[in-house]
Symmetry: C2
Subunit: 317 residues, 2 copies
C-alpha cells in the first residue's frame, strides 16, 4: 500500500523506517515546515538523514504531502487539545479523497469522534486507530472481536511515565520532584511532563475507549472525563498504602456510569499494579472474565508497528 | 450462523448456552452417546436440562450431529493424544462438506496441523482455533495481526493448574502432594491431574504455536516438544529461588531453536511470574517489543466466548 506520513517526529520517522518491511511504500512525508513527495516512493533513508542534519524533510511546502498520491494517510503530528486541529483537517482531507486514514495522533478520536465517523461514513476510505490506545497492545482489536456490547468495564494504567514515577516513589521512598528529575535525566520524561503527570494523556485514551464502547450512542470528549493527576500525592500516602499491602497507580476507568482518571489504591498483587514504565489494560467482559494486556512504555518503533499493522489490516479484503 | 456442537461437556454446553447471545443458532449437539438435531434450532435449555438429569442430550445416535445441517462445526470433544481422533475425523467431515470448523479441542492443530491445513485448502470452509491457545486471550489474532514473521519468540505460562500449584507451594512453603490435594478439594484440579502437571497440556499449546509461527514450513507435533513437568520440584528449590528474588514457573517457550516446556527460574518481578490459577503469554517481536496477555484460568464460559468470537469472525466478509 502507498502511504503518506504527516509528522516526522519519533513516530512518523519510525513508520517511514519500517514501512518497507511491512510491504508498504512511502510516497509522502511532511513535518511542520517541509515535505517530500514521490508517487513512486521516496528515498526514506536520505529524507530521515536530512531531517537529522538540517531539521527538514524536503524542499516542498508541508501541505504538499496532504495532497500527494497515497492509499492511506498516517496522521502522526503532535496532539493538540480542543478541536484536535490540524489533525482533524488532515483526516477530513484524506477521507474526502476516499483514502484510508491510520491515526498515531489521539486527538481526533478523543475529541471529535462523531465528526470523524460521519466523514468516514461518506467515504470509501476507512479510519483505524489501534495505535492510539495502548500503542502496540491489541486493545481495540480485542474489543472489536469480543463485541463492544460484551465489554462491561475497562480499567488500566494508560500512561507509562506516570506509572514510572509512582513505582519509583513507592520503591525508593523518594518524593515526586526527585523522581521526575531522575526520569528526565533518563530520557523517560519530556522536559514538560504536564501532559503525562496531570492525567491528560490518560484522559484522551479514556475518551477514545468510551467512544468505542458506546458505539457513538453518546459522544465523549476529554471534557467528559474526570481527571486527577499524580502531582499532589505525598510520599507518605504511598508509605501508608505499602504497609497495607497496597500501592497507588494512576488508573483510567471506563464503566457504564463514569469515565475517570485518578490515583487509586490497588492491591500489590493486582494485575493493575504493574511497575516501572509499563502500562496495562484490563477488559472485563460478561462471559469471558477479565483479560489483561500489558506492554512496556511504547517507543517510536513500537507505535509505528501498531500503525503499520493497521495499514496491513486495511489491505485485507 | 447455524452451528453444530460436538461435545457436551463444560465447553460444549457453554457454547450452546451462549450461542444465541452472539447471534448464532444451534442446529445440532452431541455427546459421546447421543445427539439432538433440528435444522431450525434445537431447544438448548431443554437439551442441557436433559443432559444434567439423564446424562444424554437426545434420542438420536451421536453421529447424526456430524451429518446435520450447520454452517460451522464446533469441535469440543475431549483431547486425545496421538492421532487426535475422533476429533480429526470430525474436522475432516465438516471441511469436506464445505462447512467451517471452530476448534475448542487442541488435538488437531497440535498433532495433525498439515493434514488439517491440506483439508482446509480443498474446502470452501475455514478453520479457526483461537480458543485452543490461551482460551479467551487474544493470542492467535495478535500473532496474525503482527504477522507471524515478525514474532521472534513466544514464552508463557500456559497451564493454570500447574501455575496454581507452584504459586501455592512458593507462598505457603507446602509440598507438591499437599497443594495438589487442596486444588482437588477446591475443584481447580481434576481427579487425574497428569495432563496438567506433567506438562502435556502446555506442550499441546506449544505445538500449535510452533505450527502457526513457522507457517507450515515444518510440522510440529507434541513429540517435537521437550517436556518436563512440575512433579519432581522439591519445596527446597522454591525456597532457594525465593531467597534470590526469583520464583519457579512452568514455562512454555517457542523460539527459532527450540520448543520446550519446563520449570524455569524467573524473577519475581517478571511479567511471567503470574500467581494463582492464571496464565500469561509473552510475544516478543522484532519492532514492537514485548507484549503480554494474561488471563484467569479459563472456565467453560470463557472458552465458549472465544469459540463464539471465532464463529463471528467467520461471518465477516
Amino acid at each position: 500500500m502507498r502511504i503518506g506520513i504527516l509528522g516526522a517526529g519519533v513516530v512518523g520517522s519510525s513508520v517511514a523506517e519500517l514501512a518497507e518491511e511491512y510491504g508498504h511504500t512511502v510516497t509522502a512525508i511532511a513535518d511542520s515546515k517541509s515535505a517530500t513527495t514521490d508517487a513512486n516512493g521516496i528515498d526514506v533513508e536520505a529524507v530521515l538523514e536530512r531531517k537529522k542534519n538540517d531539521g527538514v524533510v524536503g524542499d516542498e511546502p508541508s501541505d504538499s504531502a496532504i495532497d500527494a498520491s497515497y492509499d492511506a494517510l498516517i496522521e502522526a503530528t503532535p496532539i493538540t487539545i480542543g478541536d484536535a486541529e490540524p489533525a482533524f483537517s488532515h483526516v477530513k482531507g484524506a477521507l474526502e479523497r476516499d483514502c484510508h486514514v491510520v491515526l498515531g495522533n489521539k486527538g481526533p478520536m478523543a475529541q471529535r469522534y462523531r465528526d470523524v465517523r460521519a466523514l468516514e461514513a461518506e467515504s470509501d476510505g476507512e479510519i483505524r486507530f489501534e495505535a492510539t490506545v495502548g500503542g502496540p497492545m491489541p486493545v481495540l482489536s480485542t474489543i472489536s472481536d469480543l463485541g463492544p456490547d460484551h465489554v462491561t468495564r475497562v480499567r488500566g494504567v494508560f500512561n507509562s511515565l506516570a506509572n514510572f514515577i509512582l513505582s519509583r516513589m513507592t520503591a525508593e521512598g523518594l518524593g515526586y520532584e526527585h523522581v521526575l528529575a531522575e526520569a528526565q535525566d533518563l530520557g523517560v520524561a519530556e522536559v514538560d511532563p504536564t501532559f503525562d503527570v496531570e492525567g491528560t494523556d490518560a484522559a484522551l485514551t479514556c475518551s477514545i475507549l468510551a467512544n468505542v464502547l458506546t458505539q457513538s450512542e453518546r459522544e465523549f470528549t476529554i471534557d467528559d472525563v474526570h481527571v486527577e493527576g499524580i502531582k499532589e500525592i505525598p510520599g507518605s500516602a504511598l508509605d501508608l498504602a505499602k504497609d497495607d499491602g497496597r500501592t497507588v497507580r494512576l488508573i483510567g476507568e471506563i464503566s457504564e456510569d463514569d469515565v475517570r482518571v485518578a490515583p487509586r489504591l490497588v492491591s500489590e498483587n493486582s494485575a493493575l499494579a504493574v511497575s516501572g514504565a509499563r502500562t496495562v489494560i484490563q477488559l472485563e467482559t460478561e462471559h469471558a472474565g477479565q483479560t489483561h494486556v500489558t506492554g512496556a512504555g511504547a517507543t517510536g518503533h513500537e507505535i509505528a508497528t501498531a500503525i503499520l499493522v493497521d495499514v496491513t489490516r486495511l489491505e485485507a479484503p
